[in-house]
Amino acid sequence: MRDRPLILTGLLAFVWLFTLPVWHAYAGKYSPSAPDVKLPANEKQCVAPTAYMRDSHMQLLIDWREDVVRNNRRQFTAFNGKVYDKSLTRTCLAQCHTNKGEFCDRCHAYAGVSGPYCWDCHHDKILTARSAP
């Protein structure tokens, strides 16, 4: 019986550690149900259906990259017939997802994707504005 405080402290520590991800999410303001992404206000439809974009946008971007850089093919005809410029910065970031932090980064943080290295070179308007002299 003399060990009661010790046991209780241990139990509390265990419960705290066990539920740590929940506290972490609260502190990081992540909603546990879905990432709190900000969708573009001016556009309802992405270059491909949402479900496809959700799990294959990285493949689409890599295909675009190969096409533009290596094959000099720069036009993308979407599933609905609309034609886009194959460009991460000039199309995706400039026309719709103007704030990468509230869209790309939020979902990447939620999904635990350690920052794709696209951003080491390609940049959004916010970074550009920050660097303006």
Partner: protein
């Protein structure tokens, strides 16, 4: 219906003939289609009129325009210098074109240098990852920074010093970021791309557009009626180190 052996052989023979005929027709029509719309053998090139450059001695408009367009960093340490287009004194660029008297006049005159987009580029031959390659339809020596592993073989191979290496993260050293063009990262090689991103949009290269004196003329070297070809017919021109057999696409009118 009873099929005799003779009829069977006759029918299968006819069938084979029909298949072969269809293939032949298709092959012939494909050849005809490509002949009807021939792929023009284009080769982008540039002619730089040094006389006009001399008149504007020390002008750096083309360099500034390129730096802005392509997010080129400026480091205080010259060993880390990154350059796409830059000036160098005449005597270091055309040492073989000197006499005692030209030296008196032309020594120290700045010559604008950039990637020569050689017809026979040595940098392409040595690249182990094909991160740099010659685009066959227009002759531009391209770079894919996604694929560059930073081995710098191309820098060793290029006889013109047209390539620079990013020894450190270039972003903090860029004066103002152009959102339309990516920066590079530490560990990749870069060089002039003849503004291929602007050509794709129907624009001229940034340096050509920025030159108020129209000292830089850009066009198709394969087309005898193009602006650069007219100039090359009318005036005497130099290439940088033509004896190396790289066949540069940048010409200098003295």
């Amino acid at each position: 219906m009873k099929l005799t052996r003779k009829d069977f052989l006759r029918l299968s023979g006819l069938g084979l003939l029909a298949v072969a005929g269809k293939k032949a027709v298709r092959a012939v029509s494909e050849v005809a289609a490509t002949a009807a719309s021939p792929k023009t053998a284009k080769r982008w090139g540039m002619v730089i009129d040094l006389q006009k450059c001399r008149e504007e001695g020390g002008c750096t408009d083309c360099i500034k325009a390129c730096d802005r367009a392509h997010n080129i960093p400026h480091f205080a340490d010259r060993e880390h210098e990154v350059k796409w287009i830059w000036n160098q004194p005449f005597e270091t660029v055309f040492p073989q074109a000197q006499t005692d008297y030209t030296r008196q006049v032309y020594a120290g005159h700045p010559i604008a240098l950039l990637c020569n987009h050689c017809a026979n580029p040595p940098c392409v031959r040595v690249c182990p990852t094909q991160a740099t390659w010659k685009r066959e339809d227009d002759g531009i020596v391209m770079m894919d920074w996604h694929r560059c592993i930073g081995c710098r073989y191309c820098m060793a191979a290029c006889p013109y010093g047209s390539r620079s290496f990013n020894w450190q993260d270039p972003r903090p050293a860029i004066a103002s970021l152009n959102p339309d063009f990516p920066t590079r990262t530490k560990g990749v090689v870069e060089k002039c791309n003849f503004c291929e991103e602007r050509l794709a949009r129907g624009q001229r290269p940034a340096c050509v557009e920025a030159c108020g004196e129209k000292a830089m003329v850009f066009g198709d070297l394969a087309d005898p009626d193009s602006e650069p070809r007219k100039l090359l017919r009318a005036r005497f021109s130099l290439q940088r180190e033509p004896e190396l057999g790289t066949s540069p696409s940048v010409y200098y009118l003295v």
